[in-house]
Amino acid sequence: MKYLDEFNDPELARQQFEDIERIVTRPWALMEVCGGQTHSIVRNGIDQLLPEQVRLIHGPGCPVCVTPLETIDKALAIAARNDTIFCSFGDMLRVPGSHHDLFQIRSNGGDVRVVYSPLDAVRIAADNPDKEVVFFGIGFETTAPANAMTVVEAKRRGLTNFSMLVSHVLVPPAIAAIASSPDTQVNAYLAAGHVNVVMGTAEYEPLVARFDVPIVVTGFEPLDVLEGIRRALLQLEQGRAEVENAYPRAVQAGGNPAAQAVLADVFEVCDRPWRGIGVIPASGWRLSPRYREFDAEHRFEVQDLHVEESPLCRSGEVLQGLIKPNECEQFGTTCTPRKPLGATMVSSEGACAAYYQYRRLDVPEKVRA
């Protein structure tokens, strides 16, 4: 398979691991920003084969994860309305709100539809003029251009029954928030290549200057990720801190100017809460005043929302290193990955979930090939 097999080649991977082994002289912690990269790392076992001094910290780049609970609850309230067809990408359907998820809304009779492109929601709106059609527009800069074009298209077609529940988030402010933390352990960042396809690399220069950390634009196949790691380590060992593009087959310095123009027209920057984290200033996009009529939050008065994260959850302490996951009373009993109380048990990359998985499966934590 063109561009898949080539970047999963065991012999080239072995050479990369050897190069990395040669480069590294002391401990480093790298953060891969994007959930897609985390997936690639965990699925392929890249972290198992790296030298022990190299630690990968999994980053915030999973749009599903960081969409605030309040927004999920709003989505659920809108989706439950009789006059509404709620359209979403598939993986949002499983995300728990305070009390239930979109699958449960659907099984209770709500019209919740999985779409594969936001433009499908516009088509559904045109086909169902007697219904309100709402698209759940979430994601990083990667999904934003398509969502923006969808709003432009709805306006062009004069659709009055289409709106979008927008919860877009941005990578650079998230990196800034992590890098500003006094106890951050991250020495270098692997930027999410597909975000840079849209946005280019310029907005990362101020971050490198301000925090003196290498940022390497990185792809997603195993060899792409390894190349990002290798270049980040090389910078660290040589005492450099630069923006470097390790994904040149997809990313150009200027990004995609046409997409950026649409984004600038349709969206405006806003403060955004990140689930499990809090509000990060200027870290999101919402619809600009020119497109406010398509804003679902503006169109639907969603009231009586009781946003509830579990009071039993001690993930805050786990995250600060004050307790270990299995020292929490809820660990493995009332709190499991299937029925998580908090953010750290929710993902297989979270500390609690990782503890749970290793105990449960009883597989050696580090298996070296």
Binding site: R43, N44, I46, E70, G90, P222, G278, V279, L319, R338
Partner: protein, 362 residues
Amino acid sequence: MTSETEVVTSVAAGAWSCPLPLRDHERIVTGHGGGGRLSSELIEHLFRPAFGGGVDDPSHDAVVLPLPTGGDRLAFSTDSYVVTPVIFPGGSIGDLAVNGTVNDIAMTGAVPLVLSTAFVLEEGLELATLGRIAEDMGRAATAAEVQLVTGDTKVVEARDRGGLTITTAGFGVVPEGVELGPRRVRPGDQVLLSGPIGQHGMAIMSLREGLEFETELRTDSAPLAGLVQTMLAAAPGGGVRALRDATRGGFAAVLCELAEAGDTGIEYVERDVPVPGDVAAACGFLGLDPTHVANEGKLVAVVAPEVTDEVLAAMRSHPHGREAVRVGEVVEDHRGIVVARTGIGARRVVDLPLGEQLPRIC
């Protein structure tokens, strides 16, 4: 937890995670039918306690019953078929309804004999479509050497656009001396796969509303009873330990079931699992894992190491096993758990998918 209304100017690295589903459902959700963990839970926690015991191997889609009169043993199975669209590249719901139940019976080592058919038709279904489906069923039955012997038809108000549900049940006879099941699996046994995976699921996916990507993909729907008998003949001393058809939940789910039911570890090599190029490409852009995608004409066999070559050769001599390969082995370690050796040489745990696979956002 951090309140979402509190403004933070910096965050500790590692404070990010990805929400998973709620477990407790008051109503059925689609994942309960996905062949993953939710399906298993429904069986374990709702059906089995209500129905009482009596089934040795709950993970199996067919049961082997001794006759009260002695002699031959019967293999019995039933399955309902719902698929949208009802006609797709390479076949229809009709082929599936015959081959699916034939294959469930065949995985016990039995020779399938007869099937019953029950139709729940939605008003508005076109007779020409039903006719095409019926013809496909007849043709599939002939190819599988089973008879369609009894049936029932009901009509319900339209829910969709005139779809239908087909339920088939059937039985076959298990030859003398044939005893298959995950409990016969031993460390050192070899894991074989009858051919490339993922074609059926991705052929269906390619037609789904909103996707409609261009592909040559066709369903792999095929009756496997002939292949099974060929394999059994190649290892007459009981060298074939267990067979599973890799339908819903895919190749990975079958291995997980075998490991769990057999209380053994299984290890396989990702690169040795054949995934056709167009399946890999389609899975790649939808964010799906081909090892979790449904097949309708592929089986996984666990065989004793000393007969591996013979069984593999026999499989390759059969039209439905021409591309059979060895993909892994049963191991002493990590009982009940499947471990994959990844393309770059690391190892990872393979788990059942939770419910249905969903295309991801980015």
